[in-house]
Symmetry: C2
Subunit: 485 residues, 2 copies
């Protein structure tokens, strides 16, 4: 075949220029491989512009004010709530006004070639890129890595499409607060946006299918979030579903069935009902995969459904994890595997090392210690297994619960501190396999648990890790005392 | 000898009913030993009533307001500063109005006998208790544990004694703010009280002998604290000493020598110039020890200067560590050792186990991982070795610095986040031996480092401990990337 038929050649082509693709490309290029990164939208992707960063910017003002209001001596200096216009302006700053030039400049500095446009397979290792600077065909000499993320699911609810529903992108990039907002879905996005818009001044109704939101977390987490949302004036309908949606002269009438059955009139509906992998427009059928399905990968992030070991994937598109940080972790592993296998490092050594847990060529943490933080108020942070998950895994489980309000450090952090901590211990090995914290600003407490889980630090060694007094982290001492040490 | 001469017998007598003594007594009693606790003041001690708790209560309002002011969307709702009266009232609440009945009730529930009064040795294992309910003599059948803490040093400065200087106790229990306050000393107490009283509305002058406060910390910590204090309107005189103090018609004239030489007129002087061990009034000369000196102990907290293995000590009185949390850790070890050696557990096993590092009968962490948090604004938190300490210990040191302002999670926590992180790595073993964080509310970030240090978790395993995005803890990823992973 000629160069004409092959198109332009790169050693590695990464499809998707979000945080995941950027990390794959960066690390894959470290052994001298020539790497291209394909992106049709903003370089930096969902997380920078439409998810983590803007959502956190919208949530932080309400959290900071609540924290100050909870402290005698500070409370008197606080009057009124979040200034929505100022919060939106700050959000605009954190997203650089949806301008990706700083991230493009970073790419340029690394030697990665940015190809603007939509990529679509036309055969193994060969992609056509359309809709960008100019249509072109590129071929990956060694590897293609998919990092195309995920897209919101739009449920098939009668009338929904006619009312211009928001997805998470609209909620995080809005410049006005709907007076009445219905949030459909009790996952992380639903809970965070219900919290943010309540604090921004909207009358929020959160509709949750199950008995509580945050189904993947310990049940007390979702329960405490519901209590707090209701205290702040939100309406939370549990065990409920949206049956239909209809425009009215004064807004949108939403018919709810289930435990919260009735009709709610709102001005906007936010759909936060899950996400599907970004594999529909990729031409994966030409390489034997099914569009709309996640790309199945092994622990080296190498696709299991394609022969030849040339296809990799990382992030949401794999269905493996659903967070930026864990996707970036997978991206680092994928990039290192690609760099080692194809870029001059000893392939055998990488493969051998990759066979061992906790090698840098193996994403071991995905199975044991995925952290998740929900920046609601209270914040919810967990890592590893929940009690239910640990029992399901057949472990001999010891559960240690501690009311964070009983920690001295919590009592001087806020007057009526409310929170809860749980440690899940594998009795057989004497190590922590999961931890959950719920409370104001507990997000930064999580990494201690993550290190304990990943490091498999035995409880009797953790006994010597002294938490500083009076911090909320002193719960670690109480956990261990409660566990019998 | 008769019972008359021996006095009342206990298996174990603990002298000092602060947090340290309480913990020793509690754990020593777990194998059935009969334990007495001697306290002349408030049960719960310095930390509960005059140190950690009240100081944190006075510091938290200013911290919470500063945090809210730093967030666009929240800042507009904050006007004015800390309400001193409300802060003092809250401080009164956290100290239960200096009433120890809840702690006495806890003691009662454990079966420990509380003896009110001052204890003084009259011979080995024999103490006289005076000034309490009734003078009495008690004898410890097995062990005496000293947990008498420490007392502020009053430097010999001309005129100082005549102006009723405050010690830390006065500063933390005050009910009015001196319009002008001079703080003498740049240790933890000096820095915390300079911060608190600045925020409570006092014009504070902090006099520091060295080039910066917090001499035991990495130098950037003290430097950032000085910058922040000055920004808040405090005057900080570095490289300076107080030469003399004199009453004037309008206040107190303080003559300063050194780099900040001059005269400062204030309304009150707070002396925070260090502490000495509480061994002056104990009659330790009758058991061969020197009053005023710390009680030297081994890693089982057993005194090395007394034969027979019956004398133990924990907390500030040992000169080993100067914090409540580390003193409590020593207390747990001491209590467990006493319970095992004298209370029916296999003595041999405890001794053998105590010979191993990280046994629960050996306070190994005192040498490797003492955490310290300064609740100034910014907060300063460190554990283990500083760079200088690691080099002095002869380690092959890798220092990894990271500007916390460059962490995405920091940029959405506060608009102009200022902070710094440092990891100190022992290259030979590939483990973290020290870490320092400076920034708003970094206190809860410390325990992750403490677990990493104590767990001796290798860097290449820490690589799999994924920090959640966007938290400030993501600095761990940056640390590791900067370290070459």
């Amino acid at each position: 075949m000629t160069e004409q038929q092959h198109g332009e050649q790169f050693d590695v082509v990464v499809v998707g220029g979000g945080a995941i693709g950027e990390n794959v490309a960066d690390r894959a290029g470290r052994t001298g491989l020539r790497v291209a990164l394909v992106e049709h939208g903003l370089v930096g992707g969902e997380c920078s512009y439409f998810a983590c960063m803007p959502s956190k910017a919208l949530l932080r003002p309400g959290g900071a004010l609540a924290a100050a209001r909870a402290v005698p001596g500070a409370a008197g200096a606080v009057s009124g709530g979040v200034d929505a216009a100022a919060a939106f302006a700050w959000r605009d700053e954190t997203t650089h006004g949806w301008d990706d030039s700083s991230q493009v400049a970073w790419l340029d500095s690394t030697g990665i070639t940015l190809l603007r446009g939509h990529a679509r397979f036309v055969g193994p290792r060969t992609l056509e890129i359309a809709g960008g600077d100019a249509p072109r065909r590129v071929q990956a000499r060694h590897a293609v890595v998919l990092a195309t993320g995920s897209w919101p699911v739009m449920p098939d609810i009668p009338g929904l499409a006619d009312v211009e529903p928001w997805t998470s992108r609209d909620a995080t990039s809005a410049h006005a607060v709907p007076p009445r907002l219905l949030v459909l879905g009790g996952g992380v996005v639903g809970v965070e946006m219900a919290t943010a818009y309540t604090e921004l001044g909207s009358q929020v109704t959160l509709v949750v299918r199950g008995p509580r939101p945050l189904a993947g977390a310990e049940s007390f987490a979702g329960d405490q979030v519901v209590t707090a949302l209701r205290e702040r004036g939100a309406r939370v309908l549990l065990g409920s579903e949206v049956a239909s949606v209809q425009k009215t002269p004064t807004g949108i009438a939403v018919t709810v069935t289930g435990d919260g059955a009735g009709t709610v009139e709102v001005d906007r509906v936010l759909v936060a009902a899950g996400r599907r992998p970004g594999t529909t427009e990729l031409g994966v059928e030409t390489i034997g995969l099914e569009p709309g399905r996640p790309i199945q990968v092994d622990d080296a992030l190498c696709a299991t459904g394609v022969d030849g070991g040339w296809l990799f994937a990382a992030g949401d598109v794999t269905g493996r994890t659903g967070t930026t940080h864990q996707g970036k972790y997978d991206a680092r592993v994928a990039g290192d595997v690609v760099a080692a296998r194809f870029g001059g490092e000893d392939d055998g050594r990488a493969a051998e090392s990759g066979a061992k847990p906790w090698s840098r060529f193996r994403a071991s943490a995905d199975h044991q210690s995925v952290p998740q933080v929900v920046f609601s108020h209270p914040e919810v942070a967990w890592v590893g297994l929940t009690e239910a998950g640990a029992r399901q895994a057949g472990l001999d489980v010891q559960v240690v619960d501690y009311d964070l309000a009983d920690i001295a450090g919590a009592s001087v952090f806020a007057k009526d501190y409310t929170g809860q901590g749980r440690l899940v211990v594998d009795r057989a090995r004497g190590v922590v396999v999961g931890a959950t914290f719920v409370g104001p600003e507990v997000a930064e407490m999580l990494h201690a648990a993550t290190i304990a889980v990943v490091g498999e630090v035995p409880l009797d060694r953790l006994w010597h890790a002294v938490p500083a007094y009076p911090t909320v982290s002193e719960v670690w001492l109480r956990f261990l005392e409660s566990a019998g040490l």
